[in-house]
Amino acid sequence: MWSILKARWCQGYRTAPYPSRPPALPDRFRGRPELAAGLPDTAFVPAAAVCPTGAFTAAPGLSPSLDLGRCLFCGACAAACPAGVSFTAEHRLAARRTEDLRLIPDRAPSRAVPMEDALRRLFGRSLRLRQVCAGGCGACEADSNVLGTPTYDMGRFGIQFVASPRHADGLYVTGPVTENMRLALRKTYDAMANPKVVIAVGACAIGGGPYRDHPEVHNGAASVIPVDLLIPGCPPHPYTILDGLLRFLGRIP
C-alpha cells in the first residue's frame, strides 16, 4: 500500500495543459505542409514525381496541389523541391470534407467545423467511440490508445472508447479497409444506433495510404460507410487526433 502511494507521489501529475496551451511537439515534427506562392507550375513537378502515394499533383499548365488525406508526411516532396514545399509544425489538420484537405499555394487551409447543432446537443459533452481497425498497421491504433493515458486524458472532454458498437455514438476507423474486413466494418456500423458519426483516422482510412489501389483494399472507410470527420497523418500525432475530435464537438474554436 505504501509503495503504491509512494509511486503515485513520484510519478506526479502528468496531464498536459491542453488545449489551454499549445502542445509540446518535437523540433523535427512534420505537420501541415505549405506550398510556396508565386512559383511557376513546373517548379513543383519534381515534388510530384517522388510522392509515393500520388498525394502531390503537379504538371506544366496544372496548378500544384497536395492532398493531405493521401499524404504520408514523409517529406520526400520537400526534399525534392525545397523552394516550393516546406513542412510546418502545424498539427491541426482535421477536416470535415475531402476537398478541404486539398492544399494549394496561396490558400489558407480550412479546419474542421463542428458537427451540426442537433448532433452537438447530443454528443458535445459525451462522445462514445467504437474503434475498428480495418487493415491498420498498429501505429494509428497506438496513437489512439495513448489518448486514454494520463498525458492526454481524453476522458476529461467526455470522449471515451467503448467495447461495443451498441454503446457507441461514433465509429472510429483506422486502416485502408481490407477486402477481408469490409463486411466486419459494415456490420459494426449497422450495429450502432442512430444518430451516429464516422471518423476516419490516418492516411489509410482516408484514402488507402501506402496501400492505395491494391486489389486487396478499398481505399479507405468512405468506400464502405459515410465519413463525417477526416484526421490526416501517418499516423496522426495524438494531438492532431485530439484537436480534430474537439473541433468536431465544437469544444475548441
Binding site: 509515393p52 481497425c133 494509428c140 489512439s144
Partner: protein, 506 residues
C-alpha cells in the same frame, strides 16, 4: 553438390550458386538440419520458369551463426515437411494458398490469409479454384457432452487489430485455440515484386507499425547487401539506438497492458504514459514517434545534434526512473504475481519444436537472440547480454521484458555518449541492385526475429520478396500456451506474447 549454401546474416549470393536439390533430398536435408537444432526462418515459393515453382528454405543455425539456404523445384505437389517439422505448418499453408500447389500430408491445409479471389491466380493466370471465404472455413473442433466453442473477433473489444480466435472449451478450460487471420491482408509481398520503388520503404515502415525501425532496418540491410553498400559507423550506431528505443517503448507498454489485464491500475496507467514518453524520444531523432523516415537503405535519414543527444539522455533517464517505480510495483504485488505465475506455460521443448523466437523463446530459457547469434550493424561491436528466464509462463515473458528494458537503457546511454563521428548515410544512398541475387537479412525486432529474403531478377528488380515477422512463428506458441488454461486467462496470455496481426497477414 552440398545440401546447403551457408550465408552470413546480411549476406548475398548469386542464384546460380544455390543448391538445387530434388524434392526428396531437399526434404531430408531440411528435416536433418532442423533435427540438428536449426530453425526454419523462412520457407517460401517463387516462380521457377514458366510452369514450376522454386521452394526456398532458409535455416538459421543459432549455434554456428550461419544461415543455411537450399532450394528445390516442384510442380503441382510435394511431400509436406509439416508432419515431421511443426515449424513448417504456417509456411506450407501459405505456399499452398498463394500458388495452388499441394504439400501432401499436411494435417491442416486451411488458408492462412484468405486471399480475396481477385488477387490469386495459378501460374497460367486463371483464378484459383474455390477457396473458402474468410470466417467460413471449418475450424478444428471437439465433440462431447458439455463441450462448447467460444468465437472471438475479428472485431475485438479494445483498440486492437482484427483477428479471429476459436476456443474449444469444456467448462472454463480451453482444450484448443485456433487462430484465424487474414483480416489485415493488404497484399504487401505481391506489391513488392518489381520494386524497389517510391512506396517500398513505406510498406516496410507500415508492415507492423510498432516495428517500423525493425522492418525498415531489415529491408535496408537487404538493399545494402544486394548493392554492396557500406553504412557509415554513425549510421549504424543511430540505427541501434532507434531499434532499442523501439524495444523500450513496446516492452514498457506491454508491461502496462499486462498490469491492466489483471486490474492492477497503477502500473497500467504509468506504463501507458511512459510508453508515450519513450515514443517521443524517437520523435527527437526524426520527428515521428514511430521512427518513420529514420532508417533508409544506406544509413539513416536524420543525424542527431549534440543538444539532441543531451535532451535524449535527460528524458531517457526520467523515463527509466518512472518505469522502474511503475514496474517494481507490479512485480511486488502478490495478486498480480498470482495471476502471472504458472499461467500459459510453454516448455523449452515446445518452444524448439514450434521454432518460437524473441521474448517468448527467451522466457522458456532459450538463449536465442539475433543480436548475439547473428550479430549485425552496431551489435557486431557491442554485445548485449541475452536475457532469459526459465519458467515459460506469463511471468517469464513479462520479466524478460523488464530485464531487456534495463539492458536497452544501458545500451542507448552508452551509444549516445560515444557516437562515432562522420556521416549517417553513405552517398549515394545505395548503388543499383545486382541482378540474379538472393539476399537474407535478420534483425532482432522487439518481438523477435525479423527475416527478409529478396531475390532479384535479371534487371535487378525484386522478383520475390519474402517477409517473416516474428508473429508468424509465435502465434502458434500462444495457441499452445492456452491449452488447459482457464479461458479467462486468455487476455493475459495474449498480452504476454503481444503479437502483430498485420505483421502476420502482410
Amino acid at each position: 553438390m552440398t545440401n546447403f549454401a551457408s550465408m552470413a546474416n546480411g549476406g548475398c549470393m548469386a542464384l546460380t550458386r544455390l543448391p538445387r536439390l530434388d524434392v526428396d533430398r531437399f526434404r531430408a536435408a531440411v528435416l536433418a538440419e532442423v533435427k540438428a537444432g536449426a530453425r526454419l526462418s523462412a520457407f517460401f515459393a517463387c516462380p521457377d520458369g514458366a510452369d514450376a515453382l522454386l521452394l526456398v528454405a532458409v535455416l538459421a543455425r543459432d549455434d554456428r551463426g550461419v544461415l543455411d539456404v537450399t532450394t528445390c523445384s516442384v510442380r503441382d505437389e510435394y511431400p509436406a515437411l509439416t508432419p515431421d517439422c511443426p515449424q513448417a505448418q504456417g509456411f506450407e499453408r501459405e505456399i499452398a494458398e498463394l500458388w495452388g500447389i499441394r504439400p501432401l500430408g499436411h494435417p491442416w491445409l486451411k488458408p492462412l490469409r484468405f486471399q480475396p479471389r481477385r488477387c490469386v491466380s495459378d501460374r497460367a493466370g486463371n483464378p484459383l479454384k474455390e477457396q473458402p471465404a474468410i470466417g467460413l472455413a471449418p475450424f478444428f473442433s471437439m465433440d462431447g457432452v458439455e463441450i462448447h466453442e467460444v468465437a472471438v473477433g475479428p472485431v475485438h473489444a479494445g483498440i486492437i487489430e482484427p483477428g479471429h480466435f476459436r476456443f474449444q472449451c469444456h467448462g472454463e478450460t480451453v482444450y484448443h485455440l485456433e487462430t484465424a487471420f487474414g483480416y489485415q491482408h493488404r497484399g504487401v509481398e505481391r506489391a513488392l515484386v518489381g520494386g524497389p520503388d517510391a512506396r517500398t520503404i513505406h510498406y516496410m515502415e507500415t508492415l507492423s507499425g510498432d516495428t517500423t525501425i525493425g522492418h525498415a532496418t531489415t529491408y535496408s540491410r537487404i538493399c545494402e547487401a544486394i548493392s554492396r553498400t557500406r553504412v557509415p559507423a554513425r549510421g549504424q550506431a543511430l540505427r541501434g539506438v532507434a531499434q532499442e528505443l523501439e524495444r523500450l517503448a513496446n516492452h514498457v507498454g506491454d508491461l502496462g497492458a499486462l498490469a491492466g489485464d489483471v486490474g492492477f491500475l497503477p502500473t497500467a496507467a504509468y506504463c501507458g504514459r511512459i510508453r508515450g514518453d519513450l515514443l517521443n524520444l524517437t520523435a527527437i531523432l526524426c520527428g515521428n514517434r514511430f521512427g518513420r523516415g529514420l532508417v533508409k537503405p544506406g544509413g539513416c535519414g536524420w543525424d542527431i545534434t549534440a543538444s539532441g543527444v543531451d535532451e535524449l539522455l535527460r528524458r531517457l533517464e526520467q523515463a527509466r526512473r518512472d518505469a522502474e517505480s511503475a514496474v517494481e510495483l507490479l512485480f511486488e504485488s502478490p495478486t498480480a504475481r498470482a495471476r502471472f505465475d504458472n499461467t500459459g506455460t510453454l516448455t523449452a521443448e515446445t518452444c524448439r519444436e514450434l521454432g518460437l523466437v524473441g521474448v517468448a523463446a527467451r522466457a522458456c530459457g532459450e538463449e536465442r537472440d539475433v543480436r548475439k547469434d547473428f550479430p549485425y550493424g552496431i551489435f557486431q561491436f557491442v554485445q548485449l547480454p541475452v536475457c532469459t528466464w526459465r519458467s515459460g509462463d506469463v511471468f517469464g515473458r513479462a520479466y524478460v521484458r523488464w530485464l531487456e528494458i534495463q539492458q536497452s537503457v544501458t545500451f542507448v546511454r552508452e551509444q549516445l555518449t560515444a557516437l562515432p563521428e562522420g556521416e549517417v548515410c553513405s552517398a549515394p544512398a545505395t548503388g543499383t541492385l545486382v541482378p540474379g541475387q538472393l539476399a537474407v537479412a535478420l534483425v532482432e525486432g522487439w518481438r523477435g526475429e525479423l527475416c527478409h529474403v529478396a531475390i532479384t531478377d535479371a534487371a535487378g528488380r525484386f522478383a520475390c520478396y519474402k517477409l517473416v515477422d516474428p508473429s508468424f512463428h509465435n502465434w502458434f506458441g500462444l495457441a499452445s500456451a492456452m491449452r488447459n488454461q482457464q479461458i479467462s486467462d486468455f487476455p493475459i496470455c495474449n498480452k504476454s506474447f503481444n503479437l502483430s496481426y498485420c505483421g502476420h497477414d502482410l
